[in-house]
Amino acid sequence: MLVRRNLILVLMSLEVMLNAAGLAFVVAGARWHQADGQVVFLFILAMAAAEVAVGLALVMQIYRRFKSLDVDALSEMRG
């Protein structure tokens, strides 16, 4: 089973998923020769940049507070 619990790896996998969605948009745009696919990819790019900046700042705060990057270490906030 492929489960990653490192927060940085979780963020990197998120990048891969966003990239896959963007690839689908660009491929569809190339198939029907429309520029819209590339435009949506640009929006995904901007969103990924903003998301990764905030996410990495959160990762640094979490590391400072918990001294760990394990996702399971953050499960103390229940209900």
Partner: protein
């Protein structure tokens, strides 16, 4: 042209799988960068050169550098040099280098030999820009607001609150007193030696 597309796609898929199965974050980062470069070559073969350039510049350039910065800030302590030596063994970089070498050979072949655009031909940056600043103008404005919000949020979250001087002084005094065994007269006599 089609062969280039399939090779680049295979490189992207293989490097993504290798990235997901690495245990060390830095090794995973190397493979992720190769994967993004592979996707950029796929974009180029599909006839989207503008998006391919943006993928290399922003994804593989800017976002990955952010990741590298955070990894380096969190991991390295005094044993940093030792870790660096450990990371520079050929077993670690030979995989990403081979995959990236395939990609660079392909790019050289494409730039000098073939023409971009499978099937329906290339979409020039001009066409993309006309659509981007025409019907999608509101999206551009929203993206700028999102980036501003991301900037402010990252600044706020990454801010390390500076300790107030009186709190620092108080703890320092407490430490000195404990170090001198509760003797207030002797507490802090080693202070001049420590502070410049």
């Amino acid at each position: 042209m089609e062969l280039a597309f399939y090779i680049a796609g295979a490189v992207a898929v293989i490097s993504t799988i290798l990235m997901l199965t690495r245990l060390n974050v830095v090794h995973a980062l190397l493979y992720l960068i190769v994967s993004l470069l592979g996707v950029a070559v796929v974009f180029y073969t599909l006839g989207a050169p503008f998006v391919a350039a943006l993928e290399v510049i922003i994804y593989a350039g800017a976002i990955m550098v952010l990741f590298v910065f955070v990894v380096m800030m969190l991991n390295l302590g005094e044993h940093g040099a030792e870790l660096e030596k450990q990371w520079l063994t050929p077993g670690i970089w030979i995989g990403p280098v081979l995959l990236a070498g395939i990609l660079i050979i392909e790019v050289l072949y494409l730039v000098w030999g073939g023409t971009a655009g499978l099937g329906t031909g290339a979409l020039e940056p001009k066409e993309v820009a006309i659509v981007l600043f025409g019907p999608y103008l509101i999206g551009v404005e929203l993206a700028s607001m999102l980036l501003l919000a991301g900037l402010v949020g990252a600044y706020h979250l990454g801010f390390r609150k500076a300790e107030k001087p009186e709190i620092q002084h108080g703890r320092d005094t407490h430490e000195r007193r404990a170090a001198a065994g509760g003797n207030l007269v002797l507490a802090g006599t080693d202070r001049l030696a420590r502070t410049p």
